[in-house]
């Protein structure tokens, strides 16, 4: 199989899987086996690409020539490879968890759930491997559309209303801002291919750069920069595996990934660094981090709190990218991974708590550590990773971002990171304390752990969070190619 | 000679038209229309000679025939109005509708 075939396989596999899942809808066991099988196969296919990328190869696949020199094409580079590998790997874990969660809660329309999930994965891989902005935009929109049924899964009026906010913001920003930005780029640069060093350099100057950047930043609604972040809390109505998909596996990651890619491959780091009108991004990201953390501090609902935490963490990636130093770019890439493991653990834990006890609010969590020790242990690890405490993955990425900020003496970034770490600690630590050391309120229903697949999944991700602290060498190696290119 | 005749016909046409416009009864108008048709036939005939193209008398002939059919159609219209569904139609619009 040539590398181009591998790319095609990676994108088509989930789609084929979706068809089979739909066909097997009547037999839940077969259906879920297909899901698991597809997920595993996908992971193998995607991982098989890594040696090539590590070796500096950049395989390409041109699907169709559109018009005016545009094409539908895929091209794998380190950043995309990382994102693809992450999404493919987490899909397996997430599928295991989904089986536990969906069965545990007797959800309806499970077939639709698995089908849409597979389509979303295909779209995520499309985003990851996209070789130009058109392909990326296409995949981005499919991702949005395919996740809508997932968010609206419950189907009651309130859920559909929230899901409408989700869709409206994501689709609206992408059409109103992202697409014009792409077309603007095309009319200026004459191409939309992702090129190391950017395609806009020297073709645009002055405030126009800042404006175009703003179109991208707010057009890519999935990156959840304030004020286009509202879809993320709205999407909390979704079942937990979907939240995990949104927050860790695909959706928000696709957002920050796209943004990073735009900064590196469309604008070019050097070009942006030299352009004063692009500086606002740093401040905007810093603002989002702090504001989101403050809002998270005031939440009472566990999942909403996690959602605001995500908004803050995403802006870490944007902040890191906006620092525009080699180290910080690597930090941005690593943070995508680190946050993914940490946040998926947290959501799995939240879902497990809901499945076992139907508890959703923070104050209900008193003493729950005793009843669900595995879950809460994993939760603790995830939370520590969010704060950035060693030995968790969160520490690694924060380290790189800070190092990058010091490299360019960027005190705004340094201050923001420190302050937000404090805030993160301020909203996570009380929960951990409450869960382990408080006594349960009287009259609570007796319950144990969630179904075993769910627990298994969250333990695996928690372990991965820890492991990332120790074994991050391959990722670093991969992403340092990014730096090598931009240097 | 033809000129004088045609002017005279035109004057008659004006008179007929005046009757058609003023009414007052529907029958006056029907008659006036018929008369105007006749005058047109005459006018065409005269003008054909005036233009030295007497072969255009065909046209005058056609007008005469058509005119007859028109009048018969009107007559039949009234036959049906009076005997058939006359009761459905008020002769004058109701005050409220006007």
């Amino acid at each position: 199989m040539s590398p181009a075939d591998t790319i095609a396989t990676a994108i088509l596999l989930p789609l084929v899987g979706a068809v089979f899942i739909a066909l097997c809808g009547r037999w839940p066991n077969v259906r879920e086996s297909v899901t698991l099988f597809t997920a595993s196969a996908l992971a193998i296919v995607v991982w098989s690409l890594t040696p090539l990328i590590m070796a500096g190869d950049r395989p390409e696949l041109v699907v169709a020539q559109l018009f005016g020199g545009l094409s539908l094409a895929f091209k794998v580079e380190p950043l995309g490879m990382l994102f693809a590998a992450l999404a493919a790997t987490l899909w397996i874990v997430n599928s295991v968890y989904s089986i536990g969660y969906m069965r545990g809660n007797n959800e309806k329309n499970q077939t639709r759930f698995y089908v849409c999930f597979a389509i979303a994965l295909s779209a995520a891989l499309g985003v990851a491997f996209a070789g130009n902005l058109v392909t990326l935009f296409l995949s981005y929109e499919i991702l949005t559309l395919s996740t809508f049924p997932l968010v609206a899964h419950k189907g009651d009026a309130a859920t559909v209303r929230s899901a409408r906010v989700y869709l409206g913001i994501l689709l609206g920003t992408s059409i109103a801002l992202f697409l014009p930005a792409i077309i603007w780029t095309y009319s200026v640069a004459g191409t939309l291919d992702f090129e190391p060093g950017g395609i806009l350099s020297g073709k645009l100057a002055g405030p126009a750069v800042g404006l175009l950047l703003a179109l991208y930043v707010f057009g890519i609604g999935k990156a959840a920069m304030m004020p286009v972040h509202r879809w993320l809390p709205a999407a909390m109505v979704a079942p937990t595996p979907v939240s995990a998909l949104l927050h860790a596996v695909a959706v928000v990651k696709a957002g920050v990934f796209t943004l990073t890619k735009v900064i590196i491959y469309v604008f070019g780091v050097d070009f942006l660094f030299a352009e004063p009108s692009a500086e606002w991004l740093l401040y905007a990201a810093a603002f989002t981090i702090i504001a989101a953390s403050v809002v998270a501090l005031r939440q009472q609902n566990l999942k909403r709190m996690l959602a605001y935490s995500t908004i803050g963490q995403l802006s870490y990636v944007i902040l890191a990218a906006a620092i525009l130093t080699p180290l910080s770019e690597v930090g941005a890439a690593i943070h995508i991974v680190a946050h993914a493991f940490g946040k998926i653990t947290l959501f799995f834990a939240a879902g497990a708590i809901y499945t076992a006890s139907k508890k959703t609010e923070l104050h209900q969590l008193r003493g729950i550590g005793a009843r669900m020790p595995w879950t809460m242990a994993a939760f603790t690890i995830g939370a520590l990773s969010m704060i950035g405490v060693p030995p968790t993955g969160g520490f690694v990425s924060k380290w790189f971002i800070l190092a990058g900020a010091f490299q360019s003496d960027n005190y705004v970034a340094i201050f923001t990171i420190i302050l937000s770490t404090v805030l993160n600690a301020a909203y996570f630590l009380p929960i951990i304390f409450m869960a382990w050391f408080s006594t349960e309120a009287p009259g609570g229903k007796a319950h144990g752990e969630a179904p075993w697949p769910a627990v298994l999944a969250l333990c695996v991700t928690a372990l991965a969070t820890l492991a990332f602290f120790f074994f991050n060498q391959p990722v670093l190696e991969l992403e340092s190619q990014l730096v090598g290119r931009i240097k | 000679m033809f000129l004088a005749a045609s002017v005279a016909i035109l004057v008659t046409m004006v008179l007929a038209l005046a009757r058609a416009l003023m009414g007052p009864s529907v029958y006056d108008r029907v008659l006036a229309v018929n008369m105007l048709g006749t005058k047109t036939v005459l006018f065409l005939a005269v003008v054909a000679f005036l233009y030295e193209r007497p072969d255009f008398l065909d046209l005058a002939l056609a007008y005469a025939l058509i005119n007859f059919i028109g009048v018969l159609a009107v007559l039949q219209f009234f036959e049906n109005r009076h005997s058939g569904d006359a009761s459905k139609e008020p002769e004058k619009p109701k005050a409220g509708e006007a």
């Binding site: - | 028109g70 018969l72 159609a73 036959e79 619009p93």
Partner: protein, 328 residues
């Protein structure tokens, strides 16, 4: 000069009539005035040298159109209710349009100006070449039947469409039943018990039919042609229907026959086109129909004019019957 004076006179009458048509609230009177309007218009066309158009306007505008309007009026209210809506907007739009038209007026060529662009291009060619290429006196017929035969085919289809449309909307005239009983039941009467119209009508009908054929086949030499002949033919049958009842007329020309006339004429016309294609010419290139191109042209024009006449007569009759049948 004389033309101008006559024209001004007739046109003034025309305007007065038009205003009266719009102002009049009795729709019946309006329809009567429309007849006058058409006659005046036709007279105008005549003094402007458009003999063919004048004949058509008289036959169709004053004759058929009046009959159809009366037929529709027999089925609908006769009085207009005064409308109050949208007057000012309407006046504004209308005045605007008129001003625009007036604006153009002053750079138009004067009436009868021999140097006007229309008399310099294309038209002289028709007048010069027709005697050589087609050799029939009536240039209007030559243009209509040959140079712009494609337009005329379109026109036949327009008429056919109107026929199809009216039959579709109002329903096809049914088969012939027992006229007397039905008429008794609905209280509908015909003019058969009026002696004068009946006698005059019966006398006239053969002549009208004869005249229709004259107009049809004399179209190459004088004013006339398929459209006018078709209309006059239809008028004759309508006259018969008015006198004897439209059921009686349907026994003369049955509904099925009407359908055949409607489509047969158009098919005859189109068939000529197909035949010319098969003979190696372009669509409607009559020259290939005979060894001598001029003869071919004449033959083609005669046949397509016949097609036009048949379709027009069929459609107009079908429309008349559709309206009349609706009243039953």
């Amino acid at each position: 000069m004389m033309t101008v004076v006559f024209g001004i006179f007739l046109l003034t009458l025309l305007v007065i009539t038009a205003v009266a048509i719009v102002k009049e609230e009795n729709l019946f009177t309006s329809v009567m005035l429309t007849g006058i309007f058409s006659l005046l218009m036709a007279a105008n066309f005549f003094i402007l040298d458009a003999a063919d158009v004048a004949l058509t306007e008289a036959a169709i505008g004053a004759g058929i159109s009046t009959v159809l309007l009366l037929g529709a009026l027999a089925l609908t209210p006769r009085f207009e209710r005064k409308g109050r809506t949208g007057r000012w907007l309407a006046l504004f739009v209308v005045s605007l349009t008129t001003l625009v038209v007036m604006y153009a007026t002053f750079e138009k060529p004067r009436l009868g100006d021999p140097n006007a662009p229309v008399h310099q291009h294309v038209a002289p060619w028709y007048l010069e070449q027709t005697p050589l290429l087609i050799d029939i006196p009536n240039v209007v017929t030559a243009v209509l039947g040959s140079y712009r035969a494609y337009d005329t085919l379109g026109e036949v289809i327009v008429v056919l469409t109107a026929g199809i449309g009216v039959l579709f909307v109002l329903g096809l005239p049914g088969a012939v039943g027992d006229r007397k009983r039905e008429d008794l039941a609905t209280g509908r009467t015909y003019l058969s018990h009026h002696l004068v119209p009946q006698v005059v009508g019966r006398l006239l009908i053969p002549f009208i039919l004869l005249f229709a054929f004259y107009v049809q086949f004399h179209g190459e030499y004088g004013p006339g042609g398929g459209f006018q002949a078709g209309a006059i033919f239809a008028a004759a049958i309508i006259l018969y229907a008015l006198i004897e009842g439209e059921r009686e007329a349907l026994t003369v020309i049955t509904p099925r026959m009407l359908m055949w006339m409607m489509s047969g004429g158009a098919l005859l016309y189109g068939g000529v086109g197909i035949v010319t294609m098969l003979l190696g010419g372009n669509f409607l290139e009559y020259s290939v129909l005979a060894a001598n191109p001029v003869t071919g042209q004449q033959l083609g024009i005669i046949v397509i004019e016949l097609g036009v006449g048949i379709t027009v007569a069929g459609v107009l009759l079908a429309i008349f019957h559709a309206f009349a049948a609706r009243g039953r």
